[in-house]
Subunit: 217 residues, 2 copies
DNA sequence: CCGTTTGTTGACTGACCAGTCAATCCGGAG
DNA sequence: CTCCGGATTGACTGGTCAGTCAACAAACGG
């Protein structure tokens, strides 16, 4: 995560570009993208104002870079999970697990990505729509295969299931981001299980015979 | 929805305050709260710049007003639904229905509320956290009662179920807001059913005996 | 008919900040 | 030692906009 700076005798400072990105995560997470000034990033990185513009064309490009760096990792991970020979439910668990762990590992970065990009319908969200959709498509693919082999019902479309699954995850992260939910090792692990349990298992009591409340609308 | 203006002979213009609020919905939805200037609101409302400040202390207060107006209706509706004698699944359907219909009726307003308030962890979201949480608490209450009477399993906590349920709804609305999902009468109705079906029924195939994939993590 | 209150107008101000740029620093090649 | 190019600095500029305010209009009661 952090580079080894703060060593009194050493100027250190190997990769200023990286330092700026790391500083931007903190600055964006703390004040929000709009309220955060470029000078906040520079200050946080202990770097001159102008240097930010040496490495990035604009403040926007800094956020774009942060988002793409992380989201591409997510896409790779989902693809890899999908490639494994696993029940769909376990695949979904692995995905939820990765995202929750991403938050555990670097909450500020995930906060920035979710709040400033993924959910920002008027700015960066639109810019990165295509990239964001790829994740949905991969998840939908998992559901589709599971429906084909009979391990998932086909009561809802794969695309819709992906939406609900990802929505549940994002809402949990949002709960942590807003301090609505307690954070901690146990909570993180429990959240992973609960997400999958809710989406796959459902809330209804299954008492053997078809649920009484299962009626089409 | 709109007041009857544009009548050539009549100055009309009964309630300027309302006109400003309606104009703000359009302006915020189109450009986003940050990018939207107060003059955009005034122009959209066909009103002088200064009048906005006659009725509202600040640009923020305009958004606050829009949010509270609508969210309080939501809270009332959920409370009323909860008071009825209905299966929990039907209560959840009614709530999903109300929210989806709110979007159908005034997509711009719902877009503004979701994008600029509900999901804005660094600005209005924090301000209105308490109000937002009330909705979760009401939904959690419905789940809790259903678990007590046995119609819902208690595999997950009520609070978590509420989070997942609301998360799924918000994600569907977000899909419409981002133009990721097709909109139309059929799609709206189907979304209501799918949301409840996913959260209550779950994705797993229930073949009579306890689901093979039901294992604690 | 006048005074008061409330509604309405839009030019103006003060603050803020993204992005520019000319100057300086520094490491290495010749 | 000198020169070159990339790294680094931070003062400055230009434009934007939220919010103010002084003036004008309309409604209304006395």
């Amino acid at each position: 995560m952090a580079s080894a700076s703060a060593q009194p005798g050493k100027p250190a400072t190997p990769d200023k570009r990286r330092m700026i990105l790391d500083a931007a995560v903190i600055a964006f997470a703390t004040r929000g993208f709009h309220a955060c000034r470029v000078s906040d990033i520079a200050d946080e990185a202990n770097v001159a104002y102008g240097l930010v513009y040496h490495y990035f064309r604009s403040k926007d490009e800094v956020l774009d870079t942060l988002f793409l760096e992380r989201w591409n990792v997510l896409l790779e991970v989902i693809t890899e999970i999908d490639g494994q020979q696993l029940p769909a439910r376990d695949k979904l668990y692995a995905i939820a697990s990765f995202i929750v762990d991403s938050y555990r590992y670097d909450p500020d970065l995930m906060k920035v990505i979710i709040v400033e990009v993924t959910r920002a319908a008027n700015s960066f969200g639109r810019t990165h729509l295509k990239t964001i959709r790829e994740a949905y498509a991969l998840i939908a693919g998992i559901v589709e295969k599971a429906q084909a082999d009979g391990s998932f019902r086909d009561a809802v479309t794969p695309g819709f299931a992906a939406l609900a699954f990802y929505g549940a995850i994002e809402q949990v992260l949002t709960g942590w981001i807003f301090d609505m939910l307690p954070r901690g090792e146990d909570e993180f692990e429990q959240a992973k299980a609960y997400i999958v349990e809710t989406i796959c298992g459902g809330l209804d009591a299954h008492d053997g015979n078809p649920p009484a409340s299962a009626r089409a609308v």
